[in-house]
């Protein structure tokens, strides 16, 4: 296996070029089959099944029994590919499926997610990634446990990590289940388990190494699937090949359409579906700017504390390549996020602009009701039209849609061939699977390395450690699927919570661990515990109907958690003695890029 691994690293560019070419050829083949009259359902099934089979194959080829390969992919992932893997790890079902739909319905206020999920990488690059890489840890609690010393600090970090990542992973398994159910025509409760099976195939045998190489493959699928429909629509609407710089007029005109049709709440609401009531380009309502900034800040600090992202930078060969790989990650992520508002604007235009043949608002009700895509999505309850004022015309507030389906339905709305819908389903699947993989691995590794090996049985030998890690992976995955199948939370709310949990508990202990030499163990424990508990209590208070303070609702509880965490950590640190000489020297070593890692290779 070592021989193949070496050859693989040398030929990596060629391998992924062939893979990308093969995927494009597959799309063309599907397009040809569609022309030959193969049904839409078959094409959808082929898309999802083919891509999952490829990921599973990569997972099988990357199987390993070495600790280093299992936890950190042997620390030999080149910066560009680590950037792609991070981008896939990062862009979840929420980014791919829900983000543009959120901008479509939520308008300007929703774009705080876009700013937050990109700006966070500036924090990762300047405060965290290079220093954690120098440290040489396997997991994030590994850093906390060694920097501050003691099992209590390690345990606090493990708890925050598990809560944040588990909240996140149920949302992702939910998303894979939704897509699998629709593409394969199976009930959602089976779809969830099918999605989990695909996820485990990628990660169980090869750990971080397998996840890395499947995530690169998944990034290629998801970015093609996101860009193709937007570029296609943009051409059809006359905005040229790259719509991003030319849709300005459309965004500005949106205010005219909004005025023309009126942004009114519906006469009679339909549960679970939304109508368009928020303007596209500017803030509205009380605290609008403040709410935008606080949400963006929670997402940014959460980015810099989420372990499944930070641990991706442990896989690079050097500190410098860790930094370089953050830069590549952001570039690859940016490609999707700066397309999302364009997609939301162009889709909205398709429906609103009376000069386009696809427009439905202001058209006779009967005519709209007979459209195929309206019927398809209505039949599964994701969309509804109702002539509530009985004027025979479809008004803007009579068109109901579930925000999560905007991206999935866009190809049909714009009248694109079905092959594009299949492609988008495969892309959404890739996005949700890759994130779920990274998260499950982060949880299982923290439990197997930090809880089991470091705290319970430090003498455990390699084989036992890796078997424990795999059993945990399957167990946690099954638990996640079980909870996802109950459908307790929506995809997006759960994701925002995960970020808030992570930044409440981990942001300051991680950042100050590098940047404040004086920070000590009692301070860190206080910061993690107080921040996490305060954040959770505030979430409980707001979620059970308490009045939010200053508009800080349940999506923004990280602001409260972080404030408490910072104060607790600084006060307790200053009241207790400074860390000893050895720890201070360790911090100094962490700040210098060269020299041996703090933790030895096979710790």
């Amino acid at each position: 296996m070592a021989l193949i691994q070496g050859r693989f690293i040398d030929n990596i560019g060629r391998v992924y070029a062939i893979y990308t070419g093969g995927f494009l050829a597959f799309i063309l083949l599907m397009a040809v089959l569609e022309q030959l009259g193969v049904g839409a359902d078959t094409i959808g099934i082929l898309f999802v099944a083919f891509t999952i089979a490829i990921y599973a194959l990569i997972g099988w080829l990357s199987r390993t029994m070495e600790v280093d390969a299992y936890y950190v992919a042997g620390r030999q992932v080149p910066a560009v590919y680590n950037g792609m893997a991070t981008a896939a790890d990062w862009m979840s079902g929420a980014s791919f499926v829900a983000l543009a739909g959120g901008v479509y319905f939520g308008g300007y206020g929703y774009m705080a997610f876009i700013v937050g999920w990109t700006g966070g990488y500036v924090l990762v690059n300047s405060l965290m990634a290079p220093y954690l890489r120098k440290f040489g840890c396997y997991t994030v609690p590994d850093f906390i446990g060694t920097r501050y010393g003691g099992n209590l600090a390690r345990l606090c970090a493990v708890i925050v990590l598990v809560v944040a990542s588990f909240t996140y992973v149920t949302a992702q398994i939910n998303a894979t289940g939704t897509i699998a159910a629709r593409a394969l025509h199976i009930p959602f409760s089976y779809g969830v388990w099918f999605g989990l099976l695909g996820i485990l195939l990628c990660s169980m045998l090869g750990g971080m190494r397998a996840v890395t190489w499947t995530q690169v493959a998944q990034y290629i699928v998801l970015i093609i699937a996101y860009l193709v429909p937007v570029i296609w629509m943009s051409n059809a609407q006359g905005f040229g090949l790259i719509p991003h710089f030319t849709y300005g007029e459309a965004a500005a005109n949106m205010a005219n359409f909004e005025a023309q049709y009126g942004l009114n709440p519906p006469a009679e609401a339909i549960a679970g579906l939304s109508v368009l009531t928020t303007p596209h380009t500017g803030p509205v309502g009380d605290y609008a700017e403040w709410k935008f900034i606080t949400l963006a800040l929670c997402m940014m600090c959460g980015t810099a504390s989420l372990p499944h992202i930070l641990m991706r930078y442990f896989t690079t060969p050097t500190v410098r390549s860790a930094r370089k790989s953050v830069a590549w990650s952001l570039l690859f992520i940016f490609l999707l996020y700066f397309t999302a508002p364009a997609l939301a604007t162009l889709t909205k235009l398709q429906l609103l602009d009376p000069n386009l043949p696809t427009a439905i608002i202001g058209k006779p009700f009967e005519e709209v009701a007979s459209l195929a895509w309206i019927q398809n999505w209505s039949s599964v309850g994701f969309l509804a039209i109702a002539d509530q004022n009985s004027d025979g015309i479809l008004q803007l507030n009579e068109f109901f849609m579930r925000p999560d389906i905007v991206v999935l339905a866009t190809p049909e709305i714009a009248g694109l061939p079905y092959v594009i819908s299949g492609l988008v389903a495969a892309g959404g699947m890739a996005a949700a699977m890759s994130t779920a993989d990274g998260l499950l691995l982060a949880i299982a590794n923290a439990l197997s390395h930090d809880l089991y090996y470091k705290m319970i049985d430090p003498k455990a030998d390699t084989a036992v450690r890796l078997i424990v890690a795999r059993i945990l992976l399957v167990g946690i995955g099954a638990l996640g699927a079980l909870i996802a199948s109950l459908q307790l939370t929506g995809i997006l709310g759960a994701v925002a919570w995960a970020f808030c949990f992570a930044c409440s508990g981990l942001f300051f202990p991680l950042a100050l661990g590098v940047w404040w030499k004086r920070a000590n163990r009692p301070g860190a424990v206080a910061g993690m515990a107080a921040g996490f508990i305060a954040g959770s209590l505030y979430l409980y208070y707001v979620y059970t109907g308490g009045t939010p303070w200053f508009g800080l609702d349940h999506l923004r509880f990280g602001i409260v958690g972080m404030a408490v965490s910072l104060v607790a950590m600084v006060v307790v640190t200053l009241l207790t003695p400074a860390p000893d000489e050895e720890i201070q020297r360790m911090v100094e070593e962490t700040r210098v890029p060269t020299g041996p890692a703090i933790l030895s290779d096979k710790h």
């Binding site: 990488y121 500036v122 690059n125 900034i293 963006a296 410098r320």
Partner: protein, 89 residues
């Protein structure tokens, strides 16, 4: 080189690294926190046909983040090399 000199080199290296980080964080705060705070004012201007505030949030700040990270890494590599902490790739 005595231990004292080595310590001195590290201190100067860290001072430069810290200053660079402070500049980066100030730029980050401007694009992620200040720009959204004045979006209504910015929306009175037009850029490439976009309301300018909307443009900054949809694209401008994102482009700024990408540029900030690439420039930061370029400067940080230069600082590493200056003090002999640069690594072979």
């Amino acid at each position: 080189m005595s231990a004292n000199d080595a310590g001195d080199v590290r201190d100067r290296y860290w001072a430069k690294t810290r200053n660079l980080t402070i500049v980066v964080l100030a730029l980050w705060a401007f694009f992620s926190l200040v720009v959204p705070a004045m979006v209504s004012t910015l929306n009175q201007f037009t850029f490439l046909g976009f309301p300018f505030g909307f443009y900054m949030i949809a694209q401008g700040s994102l482009i700024a983040f990408v540029v900030i990270i690439w420039v930061q890494n370029w400067r940080q590599d230069a600082i590493d090399d200056e003090f002999g902490f640069g690594e072979e790739e």
